[in-house]
Each structure stands twice: as C-alpha cells, then as structure tokens.
Amino acid sequence: MSEEKFQVVVIGGGLAGLAAAYKLAKAGREVLVVERGKAPGAKNMTGGRLYAYALNELMPGEWGDAPLEREVTREIMMMMTPETGIAIDSSFGSMNKLSYTVLRAKLDAWLAAKAEEAGAMLVPASTVDGLIIRDGKVCGVKIGDEELEADLVISAEGVNALVAERAGLIKPVDVTNVAVGVKHVYKLSEALINERFNTVSGKGAAMLCVGECTKGVSGGAFLYTNKDSLSLGLVVDSESWKKSKLPLADIAEEFKQHPAIIRYIEGGELMEYSAHLIPEGGIKALPELYRDGFLLAGDAAGLVVNSGFTVRGMDYAILSGIAAAETANEAIEAGNYSAATLKSYETKLRQRVLQDLQTFKSAHDYMVHTPHVFTTYPRLAAELMQNIYRVEGAPAKRITGIAAQTIKGKMPYFDVFKDMIKGAGSL
C-alpha cells in the first residue's frame, strides 16, 4: 500500500465535489480534490440561479459570506414571436432568500476555499486520465504517469464524465439526453440594472423565454440579473438542434437583438462568452450511482430537473455531494467500500433528489415532443393579446369571440387539448 493513500479522492472541484470534500474534511477525513481547471470554477458555467436551501444544508448558518449576486424576487416567463414578447411578470415583496443568481468562477472558488479551510486538499490544473481498478474495485485515480491511491473515489467530474465512461462504470451520455447552453455575460452598472429591472440592490430578476429565441426549437432563453452584470443565453435540446440545422452561435447572437431583450442589455459591455452541456435525461437516463469503491455525484450522475418553470441542478449537486460524503463516512467507519455498503448513497438520494427526478420523469420528453409549445403557442398568445387590445372602430367582440377568431384555422382544438392534458401530466 502506498504511503500517499487518501481516504477519499474526489474528481472535479465543482459544487458536488467541493460539497463532498467540505463535509469529509469537516469529519476529519483525508480528502483530495483533483480539479482540471487552473482554479475551481475556471471550467464551470451556469445560467444561473442557486436555490439557497442547499447551501444551508451544507453549512448551516455559515454561508453568509458566499458570493451570491442577487436574491431573485421577480420571476418573468415570456413567450416570444419575432416582434412581440408576452410576459407573465411576478414581483414578490419577499421570497425569503429562496434563490440567488450566481457566477460559478466566484462561487466555486469560495466553496473551494471553505473546503481547504476545513482541511481538504485541492490539486488544480490536473486532469484525471483514468481509474486504478483492481478486482473490480476502484482503488484510486491516474493523472498522467502518476497514480493516487484511495479507499474511495467520488466522481463529480461533470456532464462529460469521461473517466467513469471510459472505465465502463457508466453508459456514455447520449445526445438525446443533453441540452447545450450558451451564455453571454454583459457588464452593466448596478444602478442601471436596478433601474431597468425596477429593483433594488441585492435583489433582482430571473427571466425564462420560449418561442422565437430558439427559433421554435425545444429549449428556451434565460436572463438573470447579477450584481453588476447580466447573464443572457440560450439552452436548446442538443438532438433537436442537430435536426434543425440552424447555426447555434448566430441564433444566440441574434436573440439579444429582440426588442423585448435589447432594452435590458443595451449599452452593456460583453465580458464573457461561454458554453456548457446540461444533462436533462432525468430518471430514465440515471446511471449506476455506486460501484465497489466508487460514487457518482452532480452532473456526472445527471442530477438535473428542468420542469419548464424551474431549472435545478446546482442544488442537487450540493445535496448529492453531502450524501456522498455521508456515505463515504459510513464506509470508512465500517472499513468496507463495497457496492453493498455504498448502496445507502442511493437510498439517501431517493429521499429527495431522485424523488424530484421521478416526479418530472416525463418533462424532458414532453418538451422535446411538443413542438407547439415553442412555435404555435407563442404566436397564438401574441396574436390573441394584439386582438384583445385592438380598437379600430369595427364592431367590438367579447373575449371568447376574439379567442376563437385568433385560434381558428391555426391548429385543431384537439391538438391544443392533447398538449394541455399531456403537459398537466408531465410538468
């Protein structure tokens, strides 16, 4: 046995890996995090919003200095046509610090510092190339010619889980279960953001759009207010986009010129252009979460839910990191790292994370196979609103008449009915 053996080696210093390392270090374990970026966060990107309960579970009462951008107190859902935006705009007096916009370069660096403070070791700028496997048990990681032994390896390597895939521990992620996100960060003064979003410092808005922003392809656009910048981008189903043959980079650029969007970002200075994949396959695409000497957490395990209204992944990453650390602690105490012992990881996840994935098991399929949501409905909504507000001296009609006139001939009522029923059962 090598002298340099760690109790736990974590692959990936994102939220899942760092949460696991933080908890393990707090429990006095020898834990090493191997991160491929020059610093934690250097390779990570989110839209994005973090639901704060997860941070509170990770470090109750001790996340007050976390680099959170703005508390989300305004939620906007928008349907877009080429010229129009129809929005449901909900401003809440208080959301009780429910969720915050975040930027990962800052957030991950902060969490890494917390984990190191607690006693975890972090090796940045190192890419894990493979696993040491003996008699079917994962016994460590390989980094170039170097081998690092460990009682237990936690893979929190992200959506492109090359290490776990190549070791044959999980099935490769499939294009039908992935969405691709592209994001622009625009610098804008805090005061101007407050003014444009009708908000105050420390509070802000989250906007999700469907329709023209993705040219009707399954997916949507997002706009989040950070402290002194805006995160603006698209998320599209990767397989649907492949079929669409549309130029992704051009559409992402074109979208910002939409009249409903440009008024928010006008005058902003582009700070960064980024892209990332999102595992959206849900429970149906769930890989094996544990093997002998091995656990899988965060995006690598596909722990993401896109319900259409809320998009969650970072909170699940933290919860899975906590659960992985708890499971590792049990295994260390028992001196047993077999899959039979590690099985309790899945039991822990089933209480909430996997239950949510189960609840939304049909959401991804619904969105990919209900094209009207991204094409016909935004157009009908825009026409309906225009017809409602149109007063030109012709004989007036009641609302039902206007609605009937708007929908007539555009699509069969039966299809609308079917999409509604299916949606009610999926989202």
Binding site: R36, G37, K38, G41, A42, K43, N44, M45, T46, L103, R104, A105, K106, L107, D108, P124, A125, S126, T127, G144, V159, N160, L162, P172, V173, D174, V175, V178, V180, G181, V182, H184, V185, S229, S238, W241, K242, K245, L246, P247, L248, A249, A252, E253, K256, Q257, I262, I265, E266, L270, M271, E272, Y273, S274, A275, H276, L277
Partner: protein, 100 residues
C-alpha cells in the same frame, strides 16, 4: 446593439491555449463522408467550418469552450473511431472562465 462575430466574442474570454496539442482530433478527410456535418452548426464557438472552396472541414481547437456538444452530435467522436478523439485539455490549459 452591436453584433459580435465569433472572434470578437472569444476575444473577451481568457484562454491558456495549448496550441500544439489539440485535445480534440478529427480526421478531416474522413469527415467528407459525413452526412450531417452537425459540428459545423452545433458548436457554440464555431470551431468547425466547412471550407467550401476546398470542400473540406476546417477545425481549430484553440478557442474551444469545452462544452462537449461536438462529442455528442458527432457519432465518430462519440465512438472514438480511428482518427477521432475527444479529451479535455490537460494541465489547466484551455478555457479559463472568469465569470462562469
């Protein structure tokens, strides 16, 4: 508002590029037989282009945002057939998100 082409956009990013060791390898000659060329319109950083004059793929790993979409839309990259491979850059090279 000003439109940015891809070079303008990527110029805003921080990279520590490994110019001589591409982390993604494609066989541009073999790519001629590809039926969909999805990489040319699915890559958020437009790293893959079809050179119409010479009827051949052009690819530049420098400027890659490391999202992995090409690895999934391209069957050859995904399966890692001969002449094709997809890896993350080593030693902290590649994109360095300062916002994220």
């Amino acid at each position: 508002m000003k439109s940015f082409n891809m070079d303008d956009r990527l110029a805003k990013n921080r990279f520590d590029s490994d110019d001589h060791n591409p982390h993604i390898v494609v066989d541009k000659i073999a790519c001629k037989t590809c039926q969909h060329r999805a990489c040319t319109y699915s890559c958020p950083a437009e790293r893959y282009k079809w050179d119409k004059t010479n009827d051949v793929l052009s690819f530049d790993h420098v400027g890659c945002l490391e999202c992995g979409n090409c690895r999934l839309v391209c069957e050859r990259l995904k399966e890692g057939v001969s002449g094709y491979s997809w890896n993350y850059p080593g030693h902290g090279k590649g994109i360095i998100f300062k916002e994220g």
